[in-house]
Symmetry: C2
Subunit: 479 residues, 2 copies
């Protein structure tokens, strides 16, 4: 196994395959989600979906194929997505009259439906979510993080006024942050994307961004305020209380299976995956040790303890294969199982097991009579530790004292020379696309987002021009 330090990309690709999360497929840029990889997604879905339902957002399902004419209704939208669309041109042996795109996102087809469903202020707000597969024919792909087909949820809402739509946008960003930090233990910074990084057709786009161990950023979730742009394109109008036909204000928001990649790149170590207990397909693995095959009482005891965990809803399994304990330890560490329980003849005598958390070096003895509570506490504790550890990694790699492009280039150079990651840089920006382009061209860094007021110390001058800064932005290389 290559280490993260030696080659982070290679480490990532090795880890996800050896841990059996995914496989490549014969279709360019499309991956297979194997059971352990898919189950992580199921746990993310469950956590997100429960919160959507609490918000009163209901699931629905819209056709995957979108007529070409729909894209052409919103100019920015088609410009943004057309370079990446796959098209169905034939079906059932006949050429179609109009090409049908495989959805890259569903604003257009949902906008068309909303225009039929919304007639009066009484029909608002209308708040819908969809769990679906989407397609973006990417040139460069990377499993989980950027694939031609991926899985996601997309929320779409319509409101009587702009403030309510904007509130929804901000609320969903908050929910994303809570789930990504709380369930995936991945800390994020939230803020607004710059105009050049906006969703195609949005008035404003907000994101949560996460720092990977190689210092690069992953955009982990976005929410968009559309103003009345899609309402105008699709004629989503309603009769207000003054009996006027006016446009609704819409929003959309999404997170995808790229969260799985972000979680792996945040927590993994040189032994393999490190999975937060909340999403681990197996949370606890039992490994019998010593001459356990000659002593059936050991496996009996393990099954008794396993039953306790199962009854408490903990996902666990027993590795009673004939492999050596050392082989098993490596295997389950590679797969990122949060807690390992060892039990051998001496443990049985002492009425205890040995417990090891994936992220700690030492084992601890746990008496039988305190077993369930100890495991529960360790799982909860590990969930918190992973978030804290990732926060500390982030803190150590945020730089706030870099004030010119030359300083930024020198910083990147010196970090690389030292075998360290350049991390993220908080910079002043004059708000022009020219400055943004220049940062990218000269350093490879891009604007991640503009933190909300009060979250970071404001920078006075633009890192490119030295002119007064209009915004303070996070800069980083990004996936």
């Amino acid at each position: 196994m290559v280490t993260r330090q030696e080659d982070f990309s290679k480490w990532y690709l090795q880890t996800i395959q050896q841990a059996d999360l995914m496989d490549y497929s014969p279709v360019r840029g499309c991956m297979i989600f194997k059971p352990d990889g898919y189950e992580i997604w199921e746990h993310i879905q469950k956590a997100m979906d429960a919160r959507f339902k609490e918000e009163g957002i209901r699931n629905a399902y819209f056709p995957m194929l979108i007529p070409e004419s729909f894209f052409n209704k919103e100019k920015d939208h088609i410009e943004g997505f057309s370079p990446e669309l796959p098209w169905v041109t034939e079906a059932a042996g006949e050429k179609l009259e109009e090409r049908l795109a495989l959805r890259p996102t569903s604003e257009t087809i949902i906008g068309d439906a909303f225009s039929n469903w919304i007639q009066s202020y009484r029909d608002l707000p209308l708040e819908i979510n969809q769990w679906a597969n989407v397609f973006r024919w990417e040139k460069k792909t990377l499993p989980f993080l950027r694939t031609s087909e991926f899985l996601w949820q997309e929320g779409h809402t319509a409101h009587a006024d702009g403030q309510e739509a904007l509130d929804r946008t901000m609320r969903m960003l908050q929910i994303y942050k809570e789930v990504v930090e709380g369930v995936l233990a991945v800390p994020v910074v939230d803020g607004e994307k710059t105009p050049s990084e906006r969703f195609a057709g949005a008035v404003s786009t907000f994101s949560i961004e996460a720092m990977m161990q190689d210092g690069k950023a992953v955009q982990a979730g976005t929410s968009h305020y559309m103003g009345t742009k899609f309402a105008e394109a699709f004629d989503i109008r309603y009769l207000n209380t003054d009996n006027e036909h006016v446009y609704a204000h819409t929003s959309s928001f999404g997170v995808s299976t790229r969260l799985i990649g972000a979680m792996i790149m945040t927590h993994g170590d040189d032994k393999g995956l490190v999975l937060p207990p909340a999403v681990a397909p197996t949370q606890v693995v039992f490994v019998p040790v010593g001459p356990w095959q000659k002593n059936p009482a050991i496996l009996d005891k393990i099954h008794e303890l396993q039953a306790q965990l199962k009854a408490a809803g903990i996902r666990c399994r027993v590795d009673d294969s004939n492999n050596s304990p050392g082989f098993k330890f490596n295997e389950w560490e590679l797969r990122g199982v949060p807690v390992r329980i060892e039990c051998g003849p001496r443990d049985l005598e002492n009425a205890q097991v040995m417990m090891k958390a994936r992220d700690l070096d030492d084992k601890v003895a746990v008496p039988f009579d305190n077993f369930l509570a100890s495991v529960q506490a360790e799982l909860a504790s590990m969930q918190g530790r992973l978030l804290e550890k990732a926060r500390q990694m982030n803190q150590a790699n945020y730089y706030t004292d870099i004030n010119s492009l030359d300083e930024l280039k020198a910083h990147i150079e010196s970090k690389r020379a030292a075998g360290q990651v350049p991390g993220w840089v908080l910079a002043g920006w004059d708000g022009t696309e020219e400055s943004e382009d220049k940062i990218k061209e000269e350093t490879g860094f891009t604007t991640r987002n503009i933190p909300f007021a009060g979250q970071v110390p404001e920078k006075a001058t633009c890192i490119v021009t030295g002119q007064p800064a209009k915004h303070t932005v996070w800069l980083a290389r990004a996936y």
Copy 2:
């Protein structure tokens, strides 16, 4: 509203739209699942998925696009599906070298993956399920029952020997029967499809079939034993304990969103939907009656009772709109809400509410102090009643004493003349495709399935030829 008797098809289309389950879409044959329609699917998914997991079948996700060359590997498979496939021929502005089909089912792409994953007998059984959208470009479509895009689950398993694969096939049919009868309250008959009705590429196909109120059949779920046909096409071989490379035996099985249509056509009445409590998006609706707006204690009490139900996990809502009670009653009956609770001033005085089940004519008084238990009992009771009522409808429309095509034609004619449904006919069949074709041409009836041994009285002679019957089959018109 048209009645079922007047025009069953029209009644169905009116009901599903007015009850807000679906909408048409701008894409030919593709429908929109609105929140109430989609939520029914979510309840079906939950029930099925829990049982799959109990069986040790794990979820995964495979690419939706399937290279044309994959289809060509299994001759029967491509013949069966090619007339219905939509094709992606262009992506990201370029013509593709090989056409990619939108999956109609995933045996081929999963077979290819299995050939990589299965090397040794230790890798078996391999049992995978996928929840996905699939495409079959149908000429005639009907919402839920036959759409160009639909949602389903498809299980795919590989086993060391044929008996184990066949056992899995039969076990899944049993699970489908349990869920469709237990959760959707739709009674089914199980059996084997005739060779001409087999899944394209299967050695044997089994089905559950349900009778609708118009006497037509819906194939409600299928499971397939593939023998080694797909293993040979995709080279799924393993090293057995004798160190020989041998082919695995595979199976597949699926149910889809057509179950929603079958459920509606089984239980609906002339007032609209009748939903089994297990899948109803709203299980209980509260309607305040009398001068409730002047008496806030009524709504307070209703909210208190609603909180009791919510705490018990019952999906409920309060209709406190300004519509009249009569309007509300009609509205919630149309939407099929299982239980309605009315509360007015006199009820408050008597410390009771009035409870009405969707499928019964009379209201009953329920004292406040027995409220939760009464509602729970009524929901459970209605679930059972709907199944029993549908079983009785089936029993009344099975015909077992029709022994020739002339008798069958006369039977259909007399039923139609009387405004009754022709129902299903249990018939002897000589096992030839010629006889099957002749039944279809002359009566429109098709073979549904061959009941398993001992389930029905065996017929001695073929309904077409009068020769000794090889099988006893269910015949019906089908969706």
